[in-house]
């Protein structure tokens, strides 16, 4: 096989989805992917990248442009702390931290949502808040003379959540 044939077959390899970058770029947060110059300033300033070699935002941006969809939508983007250091540091305004949200939104629609976050979403649908108070917290509140917890208008919230399709995205029944 000649060299050009080899490149050809690699581009059509099913593990490379060349549309991925364009899909990301067309989401409200994903435009930055088009501006990335792979300088690595995001990784050098990332507090998570210094803790673990499993996370490298520059690599993640690269994987989006190459179209390594499976890797991109896997566990990796969930290592981001959303501290936005990279958004502040990027010389290109590629908003790496924002692109991560775009990928997570795409991953969520394909069913990849970490259980902790899925539970938060379920609580929002049920109570309007991300968690429920324990009995001991309610007792603490009373002991300190705090007012009762103001309930959210769940009926109104549900109308909004149905309209945006949130319940379907997280598969809430």
């Amino acid at each position: 096989m000649s060299k050009s044939e080899d490149t050809e077959s690699r581009t059509h390899d099913s593990s490379h989805d060349t549309k991925l970058m364009h899909i990301v770029a067309h989401t409200p947060r994903g435009k930055g992917i088009l501006d990335c110059i792979q300088c690595g300033r995001c990784t050098s300033s990332c507090p998570m990248a210094r803790q673990t070699s499993r996370y490298n935002p520059r690599r993640l941006m690269e994987m989006i442009t190459i179209g390594l969809k499976e890797e991109v939508l896997s566990n990796t983007p969930w290592y981001c702390l959303s501290c936005f250091t990279c958004v502040d540091k990027c010389p290109q305004g590629a908003d790496v931290g924002e692109v991560i949200f775009a990928i997570r939104n795409i991953a969520a629609r394909e069913g990849h949502i970490p259980p902790g976050i899925k539970a938060q979403g379920g609580n929002i649908i049920d109570t309007g808040k991300i968690s429920n108070p324990t009995k001991s917290i309610l007792k603490q509140r009373q002991e300190m003379g705090l007012p009762e917890i103001e309930p959210s208008d769940t009926e109104e919230l549900l109308k909004i959540l149905r309209k945006t399709g949130f319940d379907k995205i997280i598969g809430h029944k």
Partner: protein
């Protein structure tokens, strides 16, 4: 009298109610009126809900903003997560007509309309800008003399800086100035701007070790600085270092016992509010060493 719509959110009233107590008691003492926001929901969570669906996140935030708009009051948040969500949504909706149009179409389901005529402020921003360190210094009755404090800013109190636009995002000083206004000393330490790691705790249990080791880096530096305690202004950061410290001790066989204060608690003590009225006994990392140093225990 200055008045704000009080946005409580979830984490503080549902998990750390003592932070709500100190904030309410201190603001009352400083003559700031806080009005409840009836029917408000989660801000919603800037990491979890925003990770699932951006449009839902924006629409729910807009609904909360609408409640304050109807009250004709600026929002005051106690949590930096709520601050980031509501301030960012307000910014996006005010600067992106296409987002405003789309969100208002969603909100029409519940007869609400985002107008964009209020501001979102965090309680530290109100203390620093609306009251000011000088005035706080004048108001306190019990200066925290001799207390060495390590300040922790919390990522979203300054970033994304293009939207937050409060303080210098690289080397902010507002929290240090507020600490010094109490008669205490803000001690310098390395890794001051390091993230607490809370963003990882929610996204996956299996990444907890990485989150804890990140918090540990900062605890080591604070210990080296000989500070008596640390102070911060975000409930997510609070959990990372307060309960987090106990988890770190277990996981890494360490023996940290650094008291952690939400800034309003230190301010409350300096205003002469008793530690029991501030609910300080509910902290998981005990604050007694600080109370002893101040002659309050």
């Amino acid at each position: 009298m200055t008045k704000f719509a009080l946005f409580l959110g979830c984490l503080i009233p549902l998990r750390l109610p003592f932070i709500e107590v100190s904030s309410r008691r201190v603001m009352e003492k400083l003559g700031i009126e806080l009005v409840e926001m009836n029917g408000a929901g989660c801000c919603p969570d800037p990491i979890g809900i925003q990770s699932i669906d951006y449009k839902t996140w924006l629409a729910l935030a807009a609904r909360n903003l609408c409640i304050a708009e109807e009250m004709n009051l600026d929002i005051l948040t106690l949590c930096i997560g709520c601050y980031e969500t509501l301030k960012t949504a307000n910014h996006v909706l005010n600067n992106g007509p296409e987002f405003k149009y789309e969100v208002n179409e969603i909100l029409s389901e519940v007869d609400k309309e985002f107008k964009g005529n209020i501001q979102v402020k965090h309680i530290i921003e109100v203390l620093y800008e609306d009251i000011g360190p000088k005035e706080i210094e004048n108001q306190i009755s019990m200066p925290l003399e001799g207390l060495q404090v390590a300040t922790h800013y919390g990522c979203h109190s300054v970033r994304p800086s293009e939207i937050i636009q409060f303080g210098n995002p690289e080397r902010p000083t507002f929290l240090d100035e507020l600490v010094e206004a109490l008669g205490a000393q803000s001690v310098p330490y390395l890794e001051k701007m390091l993230c607490c790691g809370a963003g990882l705790r929610n996204t996956a249990k299996e990444k907890e070790e990485e989150a804890l080791s990140l918090a540990k880096v900062k605890l080591d530096e604070i210990q080296r600085s000989k500070a008596d305690c640390m102070t911060l202004s975000c409930p997510f950061c609070f959990i990372s270092y307060d309960i987090g410290q106990l988890q770190i001790n277990r996981k890494f066989k360490e023996r940290y016992n650094l008291p952690v204060f939400y800034y309003l608690e230190l301010l409350g003590l300096a205003l002469g509010i008793s530690s029991s009225r501030l609910g300080l006994k509910f902290h998981r990392s005990k604050v007694t060493p600080v109370l002893k140093k101040l002659g309050l225990a």
